[in-house]
Each structure stands twice: as structure tokens, then as C-alpha cells.
């Protein structure tokens, strides 16, 4: 296929949303068993696992349910890029030849409402939280506010992103928010953080995703429809980039970690952004989807206005984005979020995405996560 070294041969998911009485670990076990069944493999065949969760417990304790086989199971915690970091670690283990077959898993279960983060965990003074500056929502609002000013993006386009997310979510049996909503209702909902309204934001939620990965040359032992992981790259922020939880910013701007991670991913894969058939990109809110379209290289800054207004990023459009409803419709269980994007990409490349299948037999997919405190992880997948 593409000279890739690593293949994804099994995928499993526990539906996203709110699941009263179902622990995050139980959701993780469900996803792990589904991924193993999909690959036709047993837990005892796994030579390693990387996994993580923010509020759902230590991933490595899943062995008490999945089986105490003695495998090396490494807990990964890397903020919003936890799933992407687990995947990158699995990729490295397989690429290096250290192992043939293993699992990446992510799961979570968060309290309702916006995350409240301890300033001390980010090296910030108590005053920063006390005076009401320690909110990710403010950052995303301020970033799109500036972006709209610089690149002519309108509030109508912000609403279109959210309306698309709910429309796609309605076609996804594993999504949380499955009721389509009009642009008018999205614009008219409570103003959370100007210019972003309530339904333009994702919410913390619950869910789990597991992937079984193997060396590419062994993929056909497990499946006749492998999806290849051509590149998986993580980057953190550089001096001058505009990031969440920043009491100050340098006056000389630098590209965001998304720009760095996406560029390195495309370079490593030898595939350009113009060759991508379907993309899942971080849509913490409507604004971030718009900004990330350009930061990842899928379009140029400012082109988003026309692309959204003409429906180019719809499932049937020229550049389908967040075909499963993204985090706006799925919610954000931090540990699982990045892996959900890969799950959706595999479905799309296999042609198994049902009502939301991208037409035209897509062959290439791209995923991207971004989060606190300024990290991004991207992948390129092919079949």
C-alpha cells in the first residue's frame, strides 16, 4: 500500500455520552473486548498496551478484568492528547520492532460542566483561578474572536460548524448528541463566552475506544481490510504560540503546535493535506474546527468561510470533516477522544460508516487533537 510500518487491525468503542451506573473502567473493558473481537485476537496475544484516562482510573488496572497476562501496560497521561500519545507510543513500539501486536486504549468519565483545573498543576498562582481566568472556554473564545477579526469569519459560519456536528451525530449510533439543531437555535442559545454560544461548545462526557495494532507485514493474519497508520506525531507549544492557560503571551507570534504536528505528520507519511479524503479535527468548539482546518493545512486561513457556507465540509462535500459529529456531538472524554477520531477514520476507510459513509471510496484519512496546555497529535491513515 503505502510503505507504512504499522496497521490497525481491530477497533472497539463504548458509546459516548452519559452512562449512569457504568464505570469508566467497564466502558474501557467493553471497548477492549470489541477491538479484540474485531481483530480476531485474544488479550493474551497482546505484547503491550498503552492507555490513559483523566478521571476514569489507572488504565493498567484493566488487566484485572481483561486478564493478568503479565504484559507491559503503560499508563499515559498527556492532557487532551492522551489518546494520541498512547497511539504514538504503540506506533513506536511496533515500528522499532520491539513488538508485533498490541493495544492502545483510552476511556474517561467526567463530572458535568466545564473542567475546573487546579492552577498549581500548570505552574500558575492561585490568583489566576481565583479571579476567573483559568477557563479553557475563554481561550477558545478569544482565539476565534481574533481569528474572525483577521480572516473575515462570520458568526453564521460558527453556527454552521455546530449544525453540521449535530447532523452528523444524528447519523452516528455511538454519538451523545443525536438531535439536529438549526443554526438559528445554535446562535440563539446562551452566550457562554462571546462569540461562542452554548451549542457551539462540546461538553465533558464519557466513553471508551480501543485499537489493536500490529506490524504492517502481519496485518493480513488478522483482517483482510487493514488500515495503515502512516504517521503519528505529537508536538508541544513553542515560544510565542497562543495557548490555553497563558497569563501572558510573547508579542512575536509563533505557529501553534497543531501547525508543527500536522506538518511533521504529512511529511512523515509522504502524503499532502490536499490528498486527504476525510478528516477528523479537534472541534472543542465551532471556532477551533475553523481554525484547525487552516492550521492543519487542509485549507488556507480565511478559506473556511466559503468552504462552510458552500457545504464543502459536509459528508458529501469535497473535504468531509468530523463525519461522526466530532467532540461537539460526541462530548469529550479526554482519554478516549483522540482514539475516537481514529476509530471513525478506520470505519470510513473500510467503508463501514453506514449512514454517514463518505462517498467515493475514501482511501486517505487525517486526525488531529489539540488541547491544554498546548499540545497537538496528528495521524495520517490509509488503506
Amino acid at each position: 500500500v503505502s510503505g507504512a510500518d504499522v496497521a490497525i487491525v481491530g477497533i472497539g468503542i463504548h458509546p459516548f455520552g452519559r452512562h449512569e451506573g457504568v464505570s469508566a473502567r467497564a466502558q474501557a473493558v467493553h471497548a477492549a473486548r470489541a477491538a479484540l473481537a474485531d481483530a480476531g485476537a485474544d488479550w493474551k496475544d497482546m505484547q503491550f498496551a498503552f492507555g490513559g484516562s483523566m478521571d476514569g482510573g489507572d488504565a493498567d488496572t484493566l488487566v484485572s478484568e481483561l486478564g493478568l497476562t503479565g504484559l507491559p501496560f503503560i499508563n499515559v497521561w498527556n492532557g487532551c492528547a492522551t489518546g494520541g500519545s498512547s497511539l504514538m507510543s504503540a506506533d513506536s513500539a511496533l515500528r522499532s520492532g520491539a513488538a508485533d501486536l498490541g493495544m492502545a486504549i483510552g476511556f474517561d468519565k467526567h463530572a458535568r460542566g466545564a473542567f475546573n483545573t487546579d492552577p498549581a498543576a500548570h505552574g500558575l498562582g492561585e490568583w489566576y483561578g481565583e479571579t476567573g481566568l483559568m477557563l479553557t472556554t475563554q481561550f477558545f473564545a478569544m482565539k476565534i474572536q481574533r481569528y474572525m477579526h483577521d480572516h473575515g469569519i462570520t458568526a453564521s459560519t460558527l453556527a454552521k460548524v455546530a449544525a453540521k456536528a449535530f447532523r452528523n451525530g444524528a447519523r452516528n449510533e455511538n454519538a451523545w448528541r443525536r438531535t439536529p439543531m438549526s443554526e438559528e437555535d445554535i446562535l440563539g442559545s446562551a452566550m457562554v463566552s462571546h462569540p461562542l454560544t452554548q451549542y457551539m461548545f462540546c461538553s465533558p462526557g464519557e466513553g471508551a475506544v480501543a485499537l489493536v495494532l500490529c506490524r504492517a507485514d502481519r496485518a493480513h493474519h488478522y483482517t483482510d481490510r487493514p488500515v495503515f497508520l502512516n504517521a503519528a506525531v505529537l508536538r508541544s507549544r513553542r515560544y510565542g504560540s497562543f495557548e490555553v492557560f497563558s497569563p501572558w503571551l510573547a508579542t512575536e507570534p509563533a505557529p501553534s503546535p497543531t501547525v508543527d504536528a500536522a506538518r511533521a505528520t504529512f511529511e512523515q507519511a509522504g502524503i499532502g493535506p490536499d490528498e486527504i479524503d476525510v478528516a477528523q479535527i479537534q472541534d472543542t468548539d465551532s471556532g477551533t474546527e475553523i481554525i484547525h482546518m487552516a492550521e492543519t493545512g487542509l485549507c488556507k486561513p480565511g478559506e473556511q468561510e466559503a468552504l462552510l457556507q458552500t457545504g464543502a465540509t459536509e459528508i458529501g462535500g469535497s473535504l468531509p470533516i468530523n463525519t461522526d459529529g466530532g467532540v461537539i456531538a460526541n462530548g469529550e472524554p479526554i482519554g478516549a477522544s483522540g482514539l475516537r477520531q481514529v476509530y471513525e477514520s478506520v470505519l470510513q476507510l473500510r467503508g463501514d460508516a453506514g449512514d454517514r459513509q463518505v462517498p467515493g471510496d475514501p482511501r486517505t484519512a487525517f486526525t488531529h487533537v489539540y488541547g491544554a496546555p498546548g499540545i497537538s497529535a496528528c495521524t495520517v491513515l490509509t488503506r
Partner: protein, 142 residues
Amino acid sequence: MSAVPVADGLFTWPSESPQLIGSTCPECGATTFPRQGSCPRCPHPSMEERLLSTRGTLWTFTVQGFEPKPPYRGPVPFEPYGVGYVELRGEVMVESRLTVSDPDQLEIGQEMELVVVPFRSDESGDDVVTFAFRPATAGSGS
């Protein structure tokens, strides 16, 4: 009744004309707020204190529309407040509460000036004060 700063070392206080206390790298000139121990750019292991300009331009903004969870300790009942980054030219961009919470009264590029404002009352009834930026009044430039 006296006014207690929300944290020591953020701004000069008490003062008739308070200034934010930042730091500058003696090697590369990178400036931070608040002050920190080493340079985030070059990365020199020590920084020098620098009192920052009190005027700048609004680089971006939002309005906090819902009451944050703790550790937020704002006035009760909750009132929306403005938040923005103010560019202190040639120094640094500072994130700050804004005295204005109506987005129609805020515009990217407008001149802003530093003020120290009451934020909440502490247990003994004293005002806890913090820094904020307000739209600059004409002719009050330094």
C-alpha cells in the same frame, strides 16, 4: 477598611499609579508576566524584575458568561466579566479581566489602561483587589 491584593508580587501595591510586575531575560530580552525564575525562550536561568507599561491595545477579548467552578472566588451573585489580552507594545501581551463586560463596547485594537479594582470582600470585610484593564480615557496617556 483597606484593600488587600489578590496575590503578592502581581502589581505594585499600595500605589497611586500601580504597575504590573513582570520579568525580563537579561540575555534575550523575553518578557513575562507574572515574573518567573528562568527564561522561557533562550532559556537563561535567571530573570530581572520589570515594571510593565500601564497602557496598551486590546488584542482579543471575550466575556465570561457563566459562573466558573472553584477555585473561582468572585462576587456573589455572579456577574459576567470581560477578559482579554492587552498588548503592551514591545513588552508582552497580558491576560486580564476587563472592566467592561458588554462585547459591543469592546473592539480589537482599542487603547486600554491598567487599573486596580475591588474584586471581592475577604472574611474581615476588606476589599480584595486585582488588576484589570479599562478602555483608556483620552489624554490620560503616560
